[in-house]
Amino acid sequence: MSALDVVTAVLVLGGSTLALTAAIGVVRFPDTLTRMHAATKPQVLGLLLVLAGAAIRLRGNADVGMVILTGLFTLITAPVVANRVGQLAYREQNIRDDLLTRDEMLEFAEEREPGTNGQD
């Protein structure tokens, strides 16, 4: 078991641990925004750890480029989905007000006509 194997093992185990904690968080947390907070862990960091481990194991292979491309796509697309889902959850009030320490979208919500629910 070489040093690179140890690095691969640590990376893969770290990614798996993040996936497990995120799954527990998605089930246990009370509202949509906190569930999104938990779900982001394996989406970006956990996946990147596992992909780094895979890239180290597959070093020298031509298909490592696809692994790197997958990490790049995930990094680019995860914020877009999070933005859409978070905005929808806020507008439809799938959130608990008592868990918010600060509500910076409140002033924008007050400006809009009440009763507008959903898309712009």
């Binding site: 194997d5 691969t8 093992a9 893969v12 185990l13 990614g15 798996s16 641990t17 996936a19 497990l20 995120a22 799954a23 527990i24 998605v26 089930v27 949509t32 569930r35 938990a38 779900a39 394996p42 989406q43 956990g46 996946l47 596992v50 992909l51 481990g53 895979a54 180290i56 194991r57 597959l58 292979n61 298909d63 696809m66 692994v67 491309l69 997958t70 796509f73 995930t74 697309t77 877009v80 989905v81 859409r84 889902v85 929808l88 959850a89 507008r91 439809e92 009030q93 799938n94 007000d97 509500d103 409140l106 919500a109 007050e110 009440p114 009763g115 507008t116 629910n117 959903g118 898309q119």
Partner: protein, 95 residues
């Protein structure tokens, strides 16, 4: 080294099974969408672990395809879904 793969497999399988509960029981469609994103991420972690374990690089193309398809699916659901409730928005209290 084999114990690492066994531990990772057990963790990822447990994560997928636990996430499936929220996917089935989520009160709103947004909760289901978040759970589905988590499930796809766990699946991608599992495929990456399989590629690292077996040194089989044919699955890496599936990994890239899954990343793109899940993005398109999530954005489509967030854009075109029907809201769960049609009750009007109530004003938040100021703190």
């Amino acid at each position: 080294m084999i114990i690492v793969w066994i531990i990772a497999t057990v963790m990822l399988t447990t994560a997928a099974a636990v996430t499936m509960f929220r996917l089935l029981a989520g009160p709103s469609t947004l909760d289901r969408l978040v759970a589905l994103d988590t499930l796809v991420a766990v699946t991608m972690c599992a495929i990456g672990t399989w590629a690292a374990f077996s040194l089989d690089t044919t699955v890496t193309y599936g990994l890239t395809a899954l990343a793109l398809i899940s993005f398109v699916g999530s954005v489509s659901v967030a854009r075109f879904r029907v809201p769960d409730t049609d009750k009007p928005r109530v004003a938040r209290r100021l703190r």
